[in-house]
């Protein structure tokens, strides 16, 4: 799940939990507030009455009578003052029932308070019908609920927008630093603008990591290039010395053979070095891809170049390539090398009197494919993933080569953005397919 989705879900969830709790508590709260408020207003009324009594005497209410009582029209509130027999002090607020003459029973919240006036105790009662106290609870609750829902909806929308803005740099970091990146990273990385320090930290760490990867890659390439390059001079010297030695006649046959052996070994060293150098040159893109090549012509030239090998092993070759096919923006020499190595392998790992089939076709996605199939000894299944690795010699014998042929093929393919597939069965043969992008 996406981080922004998770955040929104979490925020919304926690908000709903709070709201639910609040909604559950609301009736109690409202009731509590209503009853507190009632108590408060009863007290206020009491103060008013006592003030009047102190100012005007209790007769202000009693008007000479023993008791005073007054109800509102619907008996929602009442006030009564009566002489009390007892001198003990009462000051309470309680709920109580009152039964009326017409058998009407009502619940009241009653404030009872005794006071002395003119040496006589009086009991003051102020009542409020409980039904009238709670009459606003329901609408109040509903109203509170509506406001709450509206507020939540509003905050969720704000959260949604804000988290989007907040998370945006992360998506940008991922898309610019990790996705859409072709190795090796040639372009200098640009920092993603954000005020979030965590993202800044992530971004900087990624940039430094990428730079390190790049550096290591460049160093590795440089090393290969330098090492193979530096080897060339000593090889040159050795080779010249041996050549001069050979030219010094006469020499015993044995010495001649020994020097020949040395020359062969040196030749092997030279080929390994120059192959490594070639790979590093391809990787460093030191070749220009501006040739247009006709694959039929290319393959025919290679077969002509390599024909003597076919004849020595009596291998037949069948070329079935359309004469109209064209490959644009390629390097002729590199493609020559690529197919040369593949066909050379098809010969090398073939059986006497075997066959090689070279054909082409246009794929469904309009890509162009050249297939090289041989009837050779094949490659073991567990070796197939490694055939393009440097120095991986799946059929290692003295005469099969230095193990860089397919590594060269691979680097040329990568440089030209070609796809290479291998299919092989032991003792049946191997098929290489080179797919050119449309």
């Amino acid at each position: 799940m996406k981080l922004s989705t998770k955040l929104i879900l979490f925020i919304t969830g926690s908000k709903f939990a709070v709201v639910l709790l609040f909604v559950l508590c609301l009736p109690f709260l409202v009731q509590k507030i209503a009853s507190e408020y009632t108590n408060y207003s009863l007290r206020e009324q009491q103060k008013k009455v006592i003030k009047n009594v102190e100012k005007n005497g209790v007769d202000y209410y009693l008007q000479g009578e023993k008791n005073f009582g007054s109800y509102t029209m619907l008996k929602e509130e009442y006030i009564s003052i009566e002489q009390s027999q007892f001198y003990n002090h009462i000051d309470t607020i309680k709920n109580a029932q009152r039964v009326f003459a017409d058998n009407d029973t009502l619940n009241y919240r009653i404030l009872s308070y005794t006071f002395i006036n003119g040496n006589r105790p009086y009991l003051l009662e102020i009542g409020k019908a409980t039904s009238s106290i709670n009459q606003y609870n329901k609408p109040l609750q509903r109203f509170a609920l509506y406001i709450l829902i509206a507020l939540i909806a509003l905050t969720v929308v704000i959260d949604l927008v804000f988290t989007r803005i907040l998370i945006k740099p992360l998506a940008k970091i991922i898309s610019t630093k990790l996705l859409h990146r072709k190795f090796p990273f040639r372009k200098q990385l640009e920092k993603v603008k954000t005020s979030t320090t965590d993202f800044n930290y992530l971004d900087e760490s990624l940039i430094s990591l990428m730079n390190k990867v790049n550096e290591a890659f460049v160093k590795e390439k440089e090393f290969t290039a330098n090492a193979s390059h530096e080897l060339m001079t000593p090889i040159s010297i050795l080779q010249s010395k041996m050549e001069n030695l050979m030219a010094d006649e006469p020499m015993s046959e044995e010495v001649t053979f020994r020097i020949m052996g040395m020359m062969k070994t040196l030749d092997r060293l030279k080929k390994i070095s120059s192959s490594l150098l070639l790979i590093s040159r391809i990787e460093n893109e030191q070749f220009i891809k501006n040739n247009t090549v006709k694959p039929l012509q290319l393959i025919q030239e290679i077969v002509e170049e390599i024909g003597h090998r076919l004849r020595t092993q009596n291998i037949s070759i069948e070329i079935n390539i359309s004469s109209s096919a064209m490959l644009k923006n390629v390097n002729y020499d590199l493609l020559f090398q690529l197919f040369y190595n593949l066909i050379n392998n098809a010969i090398k790992f073939n059986v006497p009197n075997g066959s090689i089939f070279i054909s082409d076709k246009e794929l469904e996605n309009k890509c162009y494919e050249i297939e090289i199939r041989d009837t050779g000894i094949g490659i073991a299944k567990d070796q197939i993933p490694f055939v393009f690795d440097r120095f991986s010699r799946t059929n290692a014998t003295e005469t099969t080569g230095h193990g860089l042929g397919l590594a060269i093929v691979k680097s040329i393919a990568i440089y030209h953005q070609l796809e290479i597939n291998v299919e092989s069965e032991m003792n049946k043969g191997t098929t290489f397919r080179v797919v050119f992008p449309y």
């Binding site: 010297i237 001069n244 046959e253 053979f257 020359m263 080929k271 120059s274 090998r309 020595t312």
Partner: protein
């Protein structure tokens, strides 16, 4: 012929000089850019072999300089850079040939001969081998009875042996001359033998080929009086 070898690796320069002296070239050596310019200022040379990677200057500048001060000289660039660009620039500047290190001295000498033939108009296009005449220009083997057709590689092989006659050429030298350095990843190819066999077969129909000797374990040699 007078040759100036400009090469900072002294050992290599000595070996090149030793080889060329045997072929009766007169060799001078320069190991730095500065020395090279100095020697070019004093002497006239027929051949200048230039290593591009000198410690104190770019060999390509020498090529440029030589074309002004010593226009008759033939320049051959020797380099370990093996960079295609260098080759193009070098040839554009007027170098006559280009050899990537490591090269065989034999190959160097053959290139020098080829350049000399081209440059100094030395024509010995018709060479005699026993009963056969070899036309290097038209790439033909001619026998009084017939013209014999050799394949491109076969003719290359025969003419290379012929140009270096009375010298043993190893299989490696021959295969490098014909197929170049890295096109091939086989160390020990007997393909040269197959080609020689074919040449002998084609020529033996008309006459003996005892002038083409096999040197056991080494290679081949054309013996010619």
């Amino acid at each position: 012929m007078k040759v100036l070898i400009i090469e900072d690796e002294k050992t290599l320069a000595y070996e090149v000089a030793a080889f060329l002296r045997k072929a009766f070239y007169v060799c001078d050596m320069a190991h730095t850019f500065k020395d090279a310019l100095e020697m070019l200022g004093i002497n006239q040379y027929d051949f200048i072999l230039i290593d591009l990677g000198l410690p104190d200057g770019d060999g390509l500048k020498i090529v440029e300089q030589t074309k002004k001060t010593n226009p008759e000289a033939a320049c051959i660039i020797l380099t370990a850079r093996g960079n295609l660009e260098d080759k193009v620039i070098g040839l554009d500047l007027g170098a006559d040939d280009y050899l990537a290190k490591p090269f065989y001295l034999l190959e160097l000498q053959s290139r020098m001969q080829a350049v000399a033939r081209r440059k100094f108009n030395i024509t010995e296009d018709l060479l005699t081998l026993g009963e056969f005449n070899i036309d290097l220009q038209k790439r033909l083997v001619i026998h009084p009875q017939a013209k014999i057709e050799l394949s491109k590689k076969e003719f290359d092989l025969l003419s290379y042996l012929l140009l270096n006659k009375n010298r043993v050429l190893t299989r490696i030298q021959l295969s490098e001359h014909i197929w170049g350095t890295f096109a091939d990843d086989d160390y020990d190819s007997n393909y040269i033998d197959a080609h020689i066999k074919n040449i002998r077969k084609k020529l033996n129909v008309f006459g003996t080929t005892d002038w083409l000797e096999t040197v056991r374990g080494v290679g081949y040699r054309i013996k010619n009086k």
